[in-house]
C-alpha cells in the first residue's frame, strides 16, 4: 500500500491518496483541493479514485469534490448525510469498510463538528480536524471541546503509541508524541470530569 500526501497552499489542508503498490482502485481522504498534481499522481500510479472518505463536512476538506466527480466516479463515505448534491454513503461509528481492497475502521469523534470521523488504516490514523500535531481541533464551545477531548482520550490515546497520525492540517505525528507534548491533551488526560460529558446522538 502507498500513501501520498498533498498539501494545498490554498487552504493549508492535507489530502491523502491511498492505493495499492501496482495500480488499481484507490482511496482519497479529504479532497479539499484537487489540482493537476494530484490528478497526475493518480494517473502515474494507474489508480482509479474509487472511494472518497470525508473526515468532516468543512469546505477545506471537501471543496475539491466537484472537480473530482467530473473526472472519476467515486463512492463517497461521510458522516454527513449530504455533501453539496453528491450521493453519500453514511458512516457509522466503529464501522469497518473494505474499500479498494483496504480495510478501514471509521471512528466517530465529535466536537470539532458533529460529523467528525477518524479513519484507521493499518498503523495509520487519518484524524482530519480531530487531532493535529500539538493541538486538538477547534470547537465552538465548552461542551464541544469536552466531547472532543473525551473522544480523543478514549478512542485515540488508547491505541498503540506507535500509530502514525496523518492530520487534516499540519505535520505528521505519532500518538506517543501527542501524549507527551500536546499540552491540551496532557491537561485533559488528568480530568475525570470528561467522563461525565455525553451527547444523546453519539456513543462516547
Amino acid at each position: 500500500m502507498k500513501i501520498f500526501s498533498h498539501f494545498s497552499l490554498d487552504d493549508f489542508s492535507n489530502t491523502y491518496l491511498i492505493g495499492p503498490e501496482n495500480g488499481g482502485d484507490a482511496i482519497l481522504i479529504d479532497p479539499g483541493h484537487i489540482d493537476i498534481s494530484i490528478i497526475e499522481r493518480v494517473e502515474q500510479n494507474r489508480y482509479n479514485v474509487a472511494h472518497v472518505l470525508i473526515t468532516h463536512r468543512h469546505d477545506r476538506h471537501i471543496a475539491g469534490l466537484g472537480t473530482l466527480m467530473k473526472i472519476y466516479n467515486p463512492k463517497i463515505y461521510a458522516g454527513s448525510p449530504s455533501l453539496y448534491d453528491f450521493p453519500v454513503t453514511g458512516l457509522k461509528d466503529s464501522l469497518f469498510l473494505d474499500v479498494s481492497g483496504i480495510s478501514v475502521e471509521a471512528m466517530q469523534i465529535p466536537g470539532h463538528s458533529i460529523d467528525s470521523f477518524v479513519f484507521k488504516i493499518g498503523n495509520a490514523l487519518f484524524t482530519g480536524d480531530v487531532l493535529h500535531a500539538g493541538r486538538v481541533g477547534s470547537t465552538k464551545g465548552v461542551l464541544e471541546k469536552a466531547l472532543l477531548l473525551k473522544g480523543i482520550k478514549k478512542r485515540i490515546l488508547t491505541l498503540d503509541e506507535r500509530f502514525v497520525i496523518f492530520p487534516g492540517h499540519g505535520t505528521l505525528s505519532t500518538i506517543k508524541v501527542e501524549k507527551l507534548f500536546n499540552q491540551e491533551l496532557i491537561e485533559a488526560m488528568g480530568s475525570d470530569d470528561l467522563d461525565q460529558i455525553s451527547h444523546p446522538s453519539i456513543r462516547t
Binding site: 500526501s5 497552499l9 498534481s37 494530484i38 493499518g122 498503523n123 493541538r135 505528521l172 505519532t174
Partner: protein, 205 residues
Amino acid sequence: MPLLAAVNLIHLAMFRCIPCNHPGCKKYAVEDEFTCLEHSDHPDRILHTITRALGDKHNHRDMLITDAVFDHLDFSKTKLSMCNFARCVFRDVDFSHSKINSCFFDFCLFDRCMFDDNDSRHSVVAGSKLIQCSFTDSMLIHTNFMGIDARECDFSTSDLYYSNFSSSHLVDVQFVDCNLKNADFRYTERDKVSFKYSNFEEAIF
C-alpha cells in the same frame, strides 16, 4: 531567505511494522530481519549494511532501524523517504545536502550533526535532543520538532514553514533570517534564542 515551497505531493509508503520476534520485545524488527537490533545475532553486520547504504548517496525508502548508534559518519547527499530511525543516536554525522521526506527521527540524540542545505519535509524529529547541530540554509517545512531539547543549534536562513516546535526547550538556538510563517512555538521554553530578521510575527507563539 529560501522561497516557500509550492504545493507538495510526496509518496509515503507504510511502515512495515513487523514486530521483533523476541518474546516480550515491543520494538519493530529491522528491515529484512526478524528481530530488532538489540535481539539480533549479528547487530554489527546489520549496522554495517545500513551505514553503508546511507552513505551511498542514493534513494532509500522504507528503511527501518531503531535504537542504533551512528558515530562519525558521512550521510551527506543521501535521499531518504518514509524511513524510521526512532531512538537512534547520531554523533558527528553529516546529513548536509540530503533530502529527507516523511522520515521518523523521534526521540533520537543528535550530537554535533550537520543538516546544512538539507531538504526535509513531513518528517518527525519530536522528542529528540539536539546538541550543537546545524540546520542552516535548509528547507525544513512541515516538520515536527515537538518537545525537542535543543542546545547551541543553528537554524538560520532556513525555511521552517508550518513546522512545529511546540513544547520544546530551546537554549542558545539561532533562527536568524528564517521563514517562520505558521511555525508553531507555543509552550516553548526559550533562553538565548534569536529570531533576528525572521518573520516571527507570522509564527504562532
